[in-house]
Amino acid sequence: MTALLRYQADLLLRSQRWLPPVILYAAFLGIGVQSGQPVLDSLGYTAAGLLPVAAWLVRICVTGEPDAARACVAAARGPARAHLACLLTALLASVALGVVATVVVTLISDPASNGHQIRVPLLRAAAAGLPATLTCALLGAAVGALTNRPLLRSTGRAVPAMLLGALLAVVLTGSPAQAAVSGLVSGSRTGRAPLPLLPAAGATLLTAVAFAVAARLTARRSP
């Protein structure tokens, strides 16, 4: 699996197809986050923005190889494992991006609640922000896994489904991402930083199921 992950990560890096989502995410943060704003509010925004980026990175990873090259790798390691490597590479890239964004946002934000009344220690804020970011990265990867090859193979269906899925995952009540983000936003009002461990656990479970479904279907629904 390590060899597959290295291969996929190298493919992602060298293809430079990661640039558009990363630049868009940076622009999104640049517009929404300014230094001196309440830290928890900004972290909620940072986490929510990562979800569609994670889904997009999954799309980049699972469509990155030409069919023939994918067949060579799948013959060596099995199509399910080859597909799982694509999904995990995208997830790891999203998590790395999210961690960097969370650290930067935490450092430039004001360690206080809305209205700058209650003090929120930066470490406490980061401890609340990182699980939320992880939740959104996981859920975005799950949305990407379920709305791309092998489940939806035509671009015309995959991209709208992916965008709609990402939107619903952020706003729909009951979604772990929505729970984690709204926890941060309301925490910014009350000045108490929540630890969104339950949403993170839920997102992990959902993503594991989504990845398993996508990997299992790879051999059934190809090419």
Partner: protein
């Protein structure tokens, strides 16, 4: 390979209501054998190869056995952001080699196929033939237990075509199974243990071509220890063997297999003496890979 790869009553169709491409296919691929699959365009040869390489799961029936597999696609696109050597090193590690071993193996396979000069060339700049050489090298890197070749010779130059035939002979001699599709009837002529024809979604064993070698034969005269019997591996790979004097044999060997047979004889214990090697007498052009 630990076990045979076995297809039992296998059927495959694309989509839930799609027509059956293959149905009721039974096939066993045993270690050390060379199997040829024939059939007109669009009959399902590639689908069968994808099932054998376990890229696709069958819609019905069962596939059992999981040899270490390598696959060579018919057309290998070069739209990958690596150099030839970089890609092959990655694929070598995917096939289970260490990074250093993969790099060395990649270099030597590129050299065998006459593409050593392109090792540092970005894949996107490779010609069609050169990228096909990369595809072939990728599959041979890890000494696979099962090698599946989907018209792998297409686009290769004459020297590389002959080299690939020799590599296939080496693989089967080393106990690997090879399954191939090629439209040139002279490809590895006489060598396959079994030839199947894909017809109307089913598989038929061809019995007429398997026994009689069609290609030109290299004539090799060897002498063994007094009263020595020809090593079984060599006897199997040779198309004909005739004992001209006690302990002396004249072998007719397909051009692709001559190296393998000679290696077997020379490394046998006690080693055999090679008296003479003669090119095929009725073959004016020593070019086994040429096409009409």
């Amino acid at each position: 390979m630990q076990h045979d790869l076995r297809l039992t009553a296998v059927g495959r169709r694309y989509g839930i209501r799609g027509p059956w491409v293959l149905r009721g296919v039974d096939l066993t691929v045993t270690p050390g054998t060379l199997t040829r699959i024939e059939g007109a365009n669009g009959t399902g040869k590639s689908t069968l190869l994808r099932l054998l390489a376990r890229l696709d799961a069958p819609t019905e029936g069962r596939v059992t056995g999981r040899p270490r597999t390598a696959f060579v696609p018919e057309r290998f696109p070069s739209a990958l952001p690596f150099t030839a050597l970089g890609y092959l090193t990655h694929l070598g590690t995917v096939h289970g080699l260490s990074r250093g071993t993969a790099r060395r193996a990649a270099g030597s396979w590129l050299e065998r196929f006459g593409a050593a000069a392109y090792a540092g060339t970005p894949m996107a700049q490779l010609s069609k033939g050169s990228s096909q050489k990369v595809a072939v090298a990728q599959a041979l890197l890890g000494d696979p237990e099962l090698l599946v070749l989907d018209e792998a010779w297409t686009g290769l130059d004459a020297a590389a075509r002959a080299e690939l035939e020799r590599a296939v002979a080496e693989r089967t001699a080393a106990g690997g199974a090879v399954v191939f599709v090629d439209h040139d009837p002279r490809r590895l002529a006489g060598a396959p243990e079994a030839t199947y024809t894909v017809l109307d979604g089913g598989l038929e064993l061809r019995t007429d071509s398997g026994s009689s070698p069609a290609g030109p034969l290299t004539l090799v005269t060897v002498r063994g220890p007094a009263g020595g019997q020809l090593p079984p591996d060599a006897a199997r790979a040779a198309a004909s063997a005739e004992e001209t004097a006690p302990g002396t044999y004249r072998l007719g060997i397909a051009a692709s297999h001559s190296d393998v047979v000679l290696r077997t004889l020379l490394t046998a214990r006690p080693p055999w003496h090679v008296v003479s090697v003669a090119p095929p007498p009725d073959d004016p052009a020593p070019n086994p890979g040429s096409r009409p």
